[in-house]
Amino acid sequence: MNNKQLKTYTLGFLGITIFTVLLMQLPDSIHIFKSERAVMFVLLLTIIMVMLNEVKQARISSDSIFLRTIPGLKAVEEAVGRSTEMGRPILYVPGIMDMNEVETVAGVIILGHVAQMTAQYETNLDVPVARSIVMQAARESCKEAYLTQGRPEMFNEDMVHYVTDDQFAYAAGVNGIMQRDKPAACMYMGKFYAESLLFAETGNSIGAIQIAGTASQAQIPFFVTACDYTLMGEEYFAASAYLSRKPELIAGVKTQDMVKLILISFIGIALLSRALSDLGLTSFNLLTWLGL
């Protein structure tokens, strides 16, 4: 957060606030802005501004941007290597929800990166899916990966296959696949519900390396206890940037960090203003003024 960035962001923030205030003052005849959602609008535009700026920076700067290590993502390559040595397939579960969940879309994109590794190492990849749109998207993602690795002949459409739409029938089916094909590595990347522990416990009983990534908060504890590596919440969304090293994706992770710092300082300011108003020094309280 060097001071050049600080300057651009404060300027940008002021510009956004002015723009929003203007929108709120529009006469009722062409009243198009919902003013009760002004705070949300400002926060959203600020995030968009930070992101676009970070992407611009990332594209022009040549030196590689620093990101701290995430153990789970380093293990992905190891797991593919291990499966190749043992000559056993890799099982990839892109969650049980459909493409109308952002986590599933992220899971399909991470599948693309894993498929590039399996193309390189010539390991076979098994992707049972629970939704048909996910089936088509996962096939696009895998075909893409095998093309970029120059191994189109290795891509076979049925490596991505539909099991069923039902949560527990899918779990029963995948349990069966695990027991019978005995994959060396199991990856669970996407949105999960109660069936997460069914996968993790079965995967553990067949001795596979298990890497899980999800933003389903209730399932993170199960993956943490039962899998070897877990990408928790935000780490899961940073995975595709880590694996692809593409500058504009790393910029996305930088944006998440930048907004985190903004939010934490907002908490500090709000605390201060609440303390002042609680101690009776001033009647102004930032939170109530913003209507939060």
């Binding site: 705070v39 949300m40 926060l43 959203l44 620093f66 990101l67 701290r68 290590t69 493409m99 109308n100 969940e101 952002v102 048909s132 749109i133 088509q136 998207a137 096939r139 696009e140 539909y162 099991v163 069923t164 739409d165 039902d166 029938a169 029963a172 089916g173 349990n175 069966g176 027991q179 019978r180 005995k182 009983s205 067949i206 001795g207 209730a218 993170i220 504890p221 199960f222 206890t225 928790m232 919440g233 935000e234 940073a238 992770v253 930088k254 998440q256 960090d257 985190k260 939010l263 934490i264 908490i267 709000a270 605390l271 609440r274 303390a275 609680d278 101690l279 939170l287 913003l290 939060l292």
Partner: protein, 257 residues
């Protein structure tokens, strides 16, 4: 008790015990129950989606009673005619056509639409309820003096301070732009401690929830072992245990690798 209910209870008992037999090991009864489940559920959801989505919402809006297309068909769910619903119809048909190799690309339109609305709808929802209201709730009340310093169950200043420190340190654990070393590393380590307590707590809760589901299954099995169901559970239990014993005698468990 009607025959269909008793017969249904016997099937339910058989399938329940078939799935439970998986705890012993992967065996024919589990494989049967699994494949029945996969087969039935795929068709069940296809039928449910058709009769609750395509039929009422799409045909209901494209062929309403005395609507422009009512010469073709009339599906009356008293929706008004809506020309825009031709768009999802088009994307749906393209999705079906994408099964042929040369039309594979057609699925992309449906995927693109789904991802588009997912991004738009979810982003706002998470921004308002996850980020904004949780951030404003993190500005906890410390100095208002209306709270006791420490209190086991209710709000208190001490609890609020712990929540504040815990939230910020756990949030910083997810900060990616800096390696977690030195004093900064100690702060994020504190964050990990809070995360671990949170995971332990929700694991503890989960244990409770799961046990009650097993209670529900055993209640059903006890119900089906009643004379009015012609002792369904006992028959099924005897059948499965006998065959399973014979089967596992014939193929001993290879030591798992």
């Amino acid at each position: 008790m009607a025959f269909s209910t008793i017969f249904g209870a016997w099937i339910a008992a058989f399938l329940t015990l078939g799935i439970l037999s998986y705890l012993y090991r992967d065996n024919p009864f589990y494989k049967i129950a699994e494949h029945v489940f996969v087969g039935v559920s795929a068709a069940y959801w296809a039928a449910t989606f058709y009769w609750t989505q395509i039929y009422p919402n799409l045909f209901g809006r494209l062929f309403p009673k005395d609507g422009p297309f009512s010469f073709i068909a009339e599906v009356d769910f008293n929706h008004e005619f809506n020309i825009l619903y031709l768009f999802p119809l088009l994307l749906g048909i393209m999705m079906l056509l994408s099964i042929f190799k040369q039309f594979n690309w057609m699925a992309r339109w449906g995927i693109a639409y789904t991802v588009g609305i997912a991004a738009g709808l979810k982003a706002y929802g998470y921004l308002s309820s996850n980020v904004l209201s949780q951030i404003s709730a993190s500005a906890v009340d410390i100095f208002s003096g209306s709270l006791p310093f420490f209190n086991m169950s209710g709000d208190s200043v001490f609890n609020n301070i712990i929540i504040l420190v815990g939230t910020v340190s756990a949030l910083m654990y997810f900060y990616f732009s800096r390696e977690q070393t030195g004093s900064y590393g100690k702060f994020t380590r504190l964050g990990i401690y809070f995360l671990m307590i949170s995971f332990g707590a929700s694991f503890g809760f989960a244990v409770m929830g799961r046990i009650s589901l097993l209670i529900g299954r055993f209640n059903d099995l006890i119900k089906f072992s009643d004379p009015s169901y012609n002792y369904g559970t006992f028959w099924m239990l005897g059948l499965i245990v006998a065959i399973l014993a014979y089967w596992s005698f014939k193929n001993p468990e290879k030591q798992e690798v």
